[in-house]
Amino acid sequence: MTTASLGLSRRNTLRSSLRRLPPVIWALLLMIIFFGVCQPRFFSLSNAISMLCQGSILMILSLGVCVVTVAGGIDLSVGAVMTFSGMIMAWLLVNTSVPIAFILLATLLVGIAFGMLNGVFVSKMRIPSFIATLGTQGIALGLSLGMNKGYTISGLPPAIGYFGNGTFLALPIPIWLAVGAFLVTFVLLRFTPFGVYAYAIGGNEDALALAGKPSWLFKIFTFGYAGLMSGLAAIVVTARSMAAQPTVGVGMEFEAFSAAVLGGVFAGRGGAGETVLGVLFILILRNGLNVVGVPTYYQLAIIGMTLIVGMALSMVLERRLRR
């Protein structure tokens, strides 16, 4: 190949890879500049770290939602499952003398169990994922409220606080956990056959079935993975507040779903990277609105509006690109 043609092809790939970047990046940049100009405090390192630490829970949940969404499903239960796993964790910590490691494992297992249950409903019983996971959301939320008659479980052993407020190499543990969850999800979707199958289910499930693979089983696994992430988020959220509140996850589904979709995750498309962008978008939006002084109540409305505007824009973009 001549050098000239090499240069040409490289320039082409640069342009096409620029175009392939998720549009949310430009929105992110705009927002960072806007909030930074409005309130220079926004740019401080402590603000960034506290934002990311706060956001680690959303990050972990969104990564689970991402895997389900890529495979063509919707998971509306992640927040409630996180809450319930956290309640179980706190109950075990307060009322039993089981070693902490086992309790953490049990917390993850509760999440996985709920996720797999969702998967079975969707895959084997053919209930639309929207309905199945809405049902599970109700179940998990109701059980969380019932466990301690609606009250918070507190008085956890101080050792558990490490997972919420401890630091490692100057960064809070929740951030490390979120980074770990990102890496695992990224590798899973990008570099393993499971990832290929998840995308295939979202893109054309018949193709996978005709290739002789049990697509139904892999579908169950995608929900199981979302459950695992809910369990991990439960550990962080419980350890951070040293208590398990039965309403801590209310509304988290909405934010996790918004993050994944705004990042550019759809059935058969998008991935862990896009999810991180979507999560950063929501975190920066919230943080910026806080810094600027918009009351929390209205923030939800603004995120909802962003979701709709973002979707409308991406539909227009898509139609434009297809031509």
Partner: protein
């Protein structure tokens, strides 16, 4: 002397019964290495069923499958693949957003350290395999961004990934351009040299003569015969495909057609239709024949304004309709009884009365309020005229038989006092008795002076009912026949044989 090659594959005396239909009756088929064996037959002759049995997707009721002369007892999709049977279905089974390599290797990924994908090696191998079949394509491109021809090639590469000895191509050229077809034939010739046996299903006679070594004809689920290259001639094949006697079962009155009610000229849509010219006069039944995928349903949809047209004119009673849409069509007195009546023609969960009034509601209720008693009275009139069984207005239409559901669709259009009625496969899935009733209704409407356009894949229906017949092929009206029409001429015309 050279040794006679042994058949890779033999199907012997295969039969398959679906509820109510004998899809295959004692059909045999064989395939030698390095040959292209063409399978032809009309719509519903049993080609697809036979191929699904070969792929293991359907089980056979009786008969033997032999691979290399050995009878196979168990025959599932997995075993079929393991024995070297590769299928390329007419509808592609690709994952649109994923790249070429991933699609080719779907389900058979190469791994590194067991758990991880070996993408580099998959891309290398995919590129090589695409080149082997004569295509150079960047294996990192999502298949959704490829043209149809290249997608077809990806499907073939996918089928050839495992050591394939029998490759089934089901209507492989239906979506391809001429250049892509030539490329496909080039690929097929290469595969022949490698000793792959190819089963080639097609409707197009030109192709069949160009690529086929032998040709087997099926008709109504039965094996009619196999011709070798030296023996076959288009006329002979067509005769074998049609074969049956067309009995004059159809109620038909003599009538004199009136003025032109509907005239369509140069109609095109962005995907399927290329040039549709037709006209229907009052008091006339006009049949539209053609093979599946010829664009007949699309033509009906475009005329009714469901799909936008990109060129051409539609005239109703001599007046051009600039922007056709279903409301406009209905206001001009055009009704469409669609092919898939359960999906497109009816509200299955609603009662008969609501369905009957769905299109003509405003005629009977110009104001804001729909009263139950008047609704029932109006609906009853039409239900009685058409003798819908049972005549219970409150019954949800999903509980009716196919024939009565079709009558409800017809009643809906009678309620707008139609001038032009378009029937798309009016008697599909309807039992014999009800079929005759629908036919006599159509005859009655024509006698009353309505203009009728009837799309049908059943040749006897076309021949028996129509005053005139148009034949469509690849999005164009390619022929027009008066009465009495010759079935062989129509079939040849529908398959694109040029005279």
């Amino acid at each position: 002397m050279e040794e006679q090659p042994k058949a890779i594959l033999q199907l012997k005396g295969i039969s398959k019964v679906f509820p109510g239909v004998k899809a295959l009756d004692n059909v045999s088929f064989d395939l030698f290495p390095g040959e292209v064996h063409v399978l032809v037959g009309e719509n519903g002759a049993g080609k697809s069923t036979l191929m699904k049995i070969l792929a293991g997707a359907y089980s056979r009721d009786s008969g033997d499958i032999l691979v290399d002369g050995e009878a196979q007892r168990w025959w599932t999709p997995a075993i079929a693949r393991a024995k070297g049977v590769g299928m390329v279905y007419q509808e592609f089974n690709l994952v649109p957003f994923r790249d070429v390599a991933e699609n080719i290797f779907l389900g058979h990924e190469r791994r590194r350290w067991r758990l991880f994908l070996d993408r580099a090696s998959m891309h290398r191998e995919a590129a090589k395999r695409m080149e082997d079949i004569g295509v150079s394509v960047d294996t990192h491109t999502p298949v959704g961004q490829l043209g149809v021809g290249q997608q077809q090639m990806v499907e073939i590469a996918k089928a050839l990934l495992l050591d394939v000895r029998v490759l089934v191509l089901d209507e492989p050229t239906s979506a391809l351009t001429v250049r892509e077809i030539n490329q496909l034939f080039e690929t097929i010739r290469r595969l022949k040299k490698l000793g792959v046996g190819i089963v080639y299903i097609s409707h197009r006679m030109e192709e069949v003569t160009e690529i086929g070594d032998r040709i087997t004809v099926l008709r109504d689920g039965q094996y009619i015969g196999t011709l070798s290259r030296a023996e076959y001639h288009i006329d002979r094949v067509v005769k074998m495909m049609v074969g049956r006697e067309i009995k004059d079962l159809f109620p038909r009155h003599f009538r004199e057609p009136g003025e032109v009610a509907l005239r369509v000229e140069g109609l095109c849509t962005h995907d399927k239709l290329k040039d549709v010219n037709l006209q229907v006069r009052y008091g006339e039944i006009v049949g539209v024949a053609g093979l599946v995928g010829a664009g007949r349903t699309e033509a009906a949809r475009a005329i009714f304004g469901l799909d936008p047209r990109t060129a051409g004119t539609i005239e109703v009673e001599g007046k051009r309709i600039a922007r056709m849409s279903p409301p406009v069509a209905i206001s001009k007195g055009i009704g469409l009884a669609p092919e898939d009546r359960k999906q497109d023609g009816l509200f299955r969960m609603l009662p008969i009365s609501s369905n009957v009034l769905m299109a003509g509601l405003r005629r009977f209720f110009p104001g804001w309020i729909v009263t139950r008693s008047k609704e029932q009275k109006v609906a009853k009139r039409f239900v009685d005229t058409l003798r819908v069984q049972p005549p219970q207005l409150q019954k949800q239409v999903r509980y009716l038989s196919g024939g009565n559901q079709q009558k409800v669709v017809i009643a809906k259009w009678l309620a707008i006092e139609p001038k032009v009625l378009i029937f798309d496969e009016p008697t599909r899935g309807i039992d014999v008795g009800a079929k005759a009733e629908i036919h006599s209704l159509m005859d009655k409407f024509a006698n009353e002076g309505k203009a009728i356009l009837m799309i049908s894949s059943e040749l006897p229906e076309i021949l028996g009912m129509s005053d005139r017949i148009y034949v469509m092929h690849e999005g164009m009206v390619v022929g027009e026949f008066g009465r009495p029409a010759n079935s062989e001429e129509i079939i040849s015309c529908a398959m694109g044989v040029k005279k």
